[in-house]
């Protein structure tokens, strides 16, 4: 896996494709064209794409689209999917309301 991204690489111009309006991220409703364009805007890592377009940031947290987005970005960069660092994995892994996330069990250490 490439942890350092070589930004000097020339990936060419953004060329429109017939299926650019295909929805990829079902939760945040982001299309293939938007993802491809984001790569040409300089978003070369999954983390950047996520922050730029919110792909995989919706309710399901990328359960369905993570692999699809990775494939599109990798193809646009001309690398294999394995070379692309996946998004950071962090808690909470599942949709959870803020009030529940904030409701931690309190343990009385002196008991």
């Amino acid at each position: 896996m490439n942890t350092i991204v070589d930004r000097t690489k020339d990936i060419g111009e953004f060329i429109p494709q017939p299926d650019d309006d295909m929805l990829i991220c079902r939760c945040e409703e982001v299309t293939k064209g938007e993802i491809r364009r984001a790569v040409h805007d300089g978003m070369w890592t999954i983390t950047e794409i996520r922050r730029y377009l919110r792909t995989g940031m919706g309710l399901c947290q990328g359960q369905t689209c993570a692999r699809l987005v990775k494939g599109i970005v990798a193809r646009e960069l001309g690398i294999s999917m394995a070379e692309l660092e996946p998004a950071a994995a962090r808690s909470p892994m599942r949709p959870i309301e803020m009030k529940v996330l904030g409701n931690e069990e309190v343990t009385d250490l002196w008991q």
Partner: protein, 113 residues
């Protein structure tokens, strides 16, 4: 009916308590404790919500609580995954429109925007 009445391997379904619930103002029947999504499917309901941006219909997709496509407003609470939430008697279930209930007022609001 979408319910399997007799299955060559699993036999007849277990007898369960029947409950009534309300879907968008309509009274429907289902089995106590089955996922809300299954009760809706048995009643022929396909659309669970309309998306926020594109206003496109969505329904059951993964059925195991992962994809969150089947979320609806249940007893006033939005974004409830209906495929993993058990049905209870008297539940009020509404088609979700963005994060709001799908009502005419919301429709008008949306078309104005």
């Amino acid at each position: 009916m979408n319910r399997i009445e007799n299955h060559p391997i699993l036999g007849e379904p277990q007898k369960t308590e029947k409950v009534t619930f309300c879907f968008d103002g309509q009274e429907m029947n289902g089995n106590m404790g089955e996922p809300i999504a299954m009760a809706l499917k048995a009643n022929g309901v396909m659309i669970h919500r309309y998306t926020q941006k594109e206003h496109k219909p969505r329904g059951i997709f993964c059925a195991i609580g992962r994809c969150t496509d089947c979320v609806m407003i249940v007893d006033g609470k939005p974004n409830v995954r209906t495929c993993v939430t058990p049905l209870k008697d008297g539940m009020v279930i509404q088609t979700q429109d963005g994060v709001m209930p799908k009502t005419e007022a919301n429709e008008v609001e949306r078309s104005r925007v």
